[in-house]
């Protein structure tokens, strides 16, 4: 066991020495190290895996490599964010490994340089179906979590505009509709992610829920969230109030920082399937007329959150055709999926294209599956079988994963 650990450390030294491109003396050191490490199998292992678990330290050198998500971070940062197939994979392999890819690295490098005095920048991940937009989103969420940002993660905005069993008319505004189940479920997951921040932040205004219930000014956000979880009827309004508070305080705490009062509140609004906010819904009112997304409290408040009129954070989002309503399968570009209204609201944004695996990434994925004993069919381990898999999947991550599932 200890021999294995030594070779792990030496492997890291070997890779770092290779990156530095030092002169003759360094090369001699590299050769000496290479002799001491274990043979080709271990070197192949380091080709597709990296021991760097902190997303802040991921760089160009880690492109195509898998890094492990620590289980503690997993439980807190992702109560609801990861795709279903990935959750199955986590359960089967007994570990959660994410590939470091270019779109995620681009977003992370932009996030590192955010100026919190300027309005929030919007990042939009777009690409063909199954190319890895949600996984890149989760990678950037992990970065934000490790850097201590407050994360507002809506895992799939499409779930809020379809298949809603209970649609209540809103208690606060006559023209709007509430979704108590979705709102309370989201509040529960929000609480799991941001336990640390909620007791420290305070409301700036008095909120009245019913004749007998109200949240006073100056009470903590933890109490606000409790109110939403216990009184499910008003949970959509609680979500609206919460978003409003965070919008105001993300900018406000910067001023506190200038007065020397301590850490700024950095807010990351992460929305997957953002084209749901400006599309159509399949929900109907009681007189069987169609519901516009604008008439839903959750969507209305989320639209305000995604506008770039507040400072002190970033908005990371991705398009999704898979869950989208009334949009054809071949649409994947921002203009097509967001529509005119959506594109005008999102403009200006930073588009981040996500493509299928490159040759190196595909190789890495193939080796990872082989290492985890996932590719069992003897023909898939041959060169010819690999060529067939490349041909059948066109290097699309989702298609490749589904192909390998039955092999």
């Amino acid at each position: 066991m200890s021999l294995h650990r030594i070779s792990l450390r030496l492997r890291r030294v070997a890779t770092q020495a290779r990156q530095l491109h030092v002169s003759g003396g360094g090369h001699q050191q590299l050769e000496a190290v290479a002799v001491e490490t274990s043979p080709a199998a271990a070197r192949e292992l380091s080709f597709f895996r990296t021991t760097e678990t902190d997303p802040a330290c991921h760089g160009e050198v880690h492109l195509g490599q898998y890094y492990t998500l620590p289980p503690a971070h997993l439980r807190n940062a992702f109560p609801h964010g990861l795709p279903y197939r990935f959750q199955l994979q986590m359960k089967t392999f007994n570990e959660s490994c994410v590939m470091v890819r270019q779109p995620a690295l681009d977003i992370i490098s932009h996030l590192k340089k955010t100026d919190f005095t300027k309005p929030a920048i919007r990042y939009l991940l777009y690409g063909l179906g199954g190319s890895g937009k949600t996984m890149s989103l989760c990678h950037s969420v992990h970065y934000c979590y490790t850097q201590g940002w407050l994360i507002l993660h809506i895992p799939d905005a499409h779930l809020w505009v379809k298949n809603c069993k209970e649609l209540l008319p809103s208690s606060s505004r006559p023209t709007r509709f509430d979704q108590p189940v979705e709102a309370s479920h989201w509040l529960k997951n929000f609480k799991t992610t941001n336990e640390a921040f909620l007791p420290k932040l305070k409301t700036t205004q008095r909120y009245v829920w019913t004749k007998r219930e109200s949240t006073e000014e100056g009470s903590t956000l933890a109490e606000l969230v409790e109110q939403g979880l216990t009184r499910v009827r008003s949970s959509s309004d609680v979500v609206g109030a919460l978003l409003r508070e965070l919008r105001m305080q993300a900018g406000a705490s910067l001023e506190e920082e200038e007065e020397g009062q301590g850490g700024a509140l950095k807010v990351a609004v992460v929305v997957d399937g953002i084209n749901a906010l400006w599309g159509r819904t399949t929900l109907k009112k009681e007189d069987r007329s169609a519901l516009v997304p604008e008439e839903l409290t959750l969507i209305h408040n989320l639209r305000k959150m995604v506008k770039n009129d507040w400072r002190g954070g970033a908005i990371i989002s991705s398009l999704s055709q898979t869950g989208a309503l009334y949009s054809p399968k071949h649409h994947y570009l921002p203009q097509e999926l967001l529509g005119e209204e959506g594109f005008d609201s999102m403009d200006p944004f930073v588009p981040v294209p996500v493509s299928n695996y490159s040759e190196k990434e595909f190789e890495s994925c193939y080796l990872y599956y082989t290492d985890r004993n996932w590719l069992q069919h003897p023909h898939s381990r041959t060169e010819e079988g690999k060529r067939e898999l490349v041909f059948l999947s066109n290097r699309n991550p989702t298609v490749f994963e589904r192909l390998c599932a039955s092999l």
Binding site: F93, R372, Q376, H379, E384, A405, L407
Partner: protein, 215 residues
């Protein structure tokens, strides 16, 4: 122009296609006289078109194809194929999960290849001896008879599918039921193995009538 869907009506003059790629890599010297004669025949006779479900890739498995055809209802091949793929995936998931959580020694014992498990399970379910109903003097007796290889394979697959369709809880998916039954057949447990043993016992009980068989 008629396109016939079921029971393709090729002229008997047409020969079946050879889809196995390895059959063509053998040089002439290694073939038996019958095989050389067959090859000569293929040069002159027309060949039928290959079926869409069969391919020359290494992933093609004739036993798997037969099983999918037997599972298929109302000509819905894609559905049957998807059920088969989901079965293989669920078997693999269970086994790989067990593998990763097992200790060093136990890892050697666990079989993770779903195709190997499927083949072994089918092998374990095949009966060795069968029964036929023969009439003698007005009464019909259950007589033990030898079975051909195809009959044994057919019985194993039919019992597996019938067991999964009839004797399981109504609300479980077919792939779930199949994966459970295949895994238990792999370790020689489960209802299909029980049925095979019962057939063997019946044949053993009726061995007195074995001389009623005349072929």
């Amino acid at each position: 122009m008629l396109t016939l869907v079921r029971w393709s009506r090729y002229n008997p003059y047409y020969l079946d296609p050879e889809t196995n790629r390895d059959a063509y890599t053998k040089p002439d010297t290694e073939l038996t006289p019958e095989q050389i004669e067959e090859r000569e025949l293929k040069k002159v006779r027309p060949i039928k078109a290959a079926v869409a479900a069969v391919s020359s890739s290494g992933f093609n498995d004739p036993l798997m194809n037969k099983f999918i055809n037997m599972m298929m209802q109302e000509g819905k091949k894609i559905l049957a194929r998807d059920i088969m793929n989901q079965t293989l995936e669920s078997i693999k998931r269970k086994q790989v999960e067990k593998y990763h959580k097992a200790g060093q020694k136990a890892k050697m014992e666990i079989e993770c290849n779903p195709h190997a498990i499927f083949h072994q399970a089918m092998e374990n379910c095949k009966p060795v001896i069968g029964l036929a109903s023969i009439q003698r003097g007005g009464k019909s007796y259950q007589v033990p008879i030898p079975l051909t290889d195809e009959r044994r394979r057919f019985l194993a697959m039919k019992w597996m599918i019938a067991e999964c369709r009839d004797n399981k809880h109504r609300r479980t998916h077919m792939y779930e039921k199949l994966s459970q039954e295949l895994l238990s057949a792999f370790s020689n447990e489960g209802n299909v193995i029980k049925k095979k043993h019962e057939l063997h016992k019946m044949a053993e009980a009726n061995r007195a009538y074995a001389h009623y068989r005349w072929w």
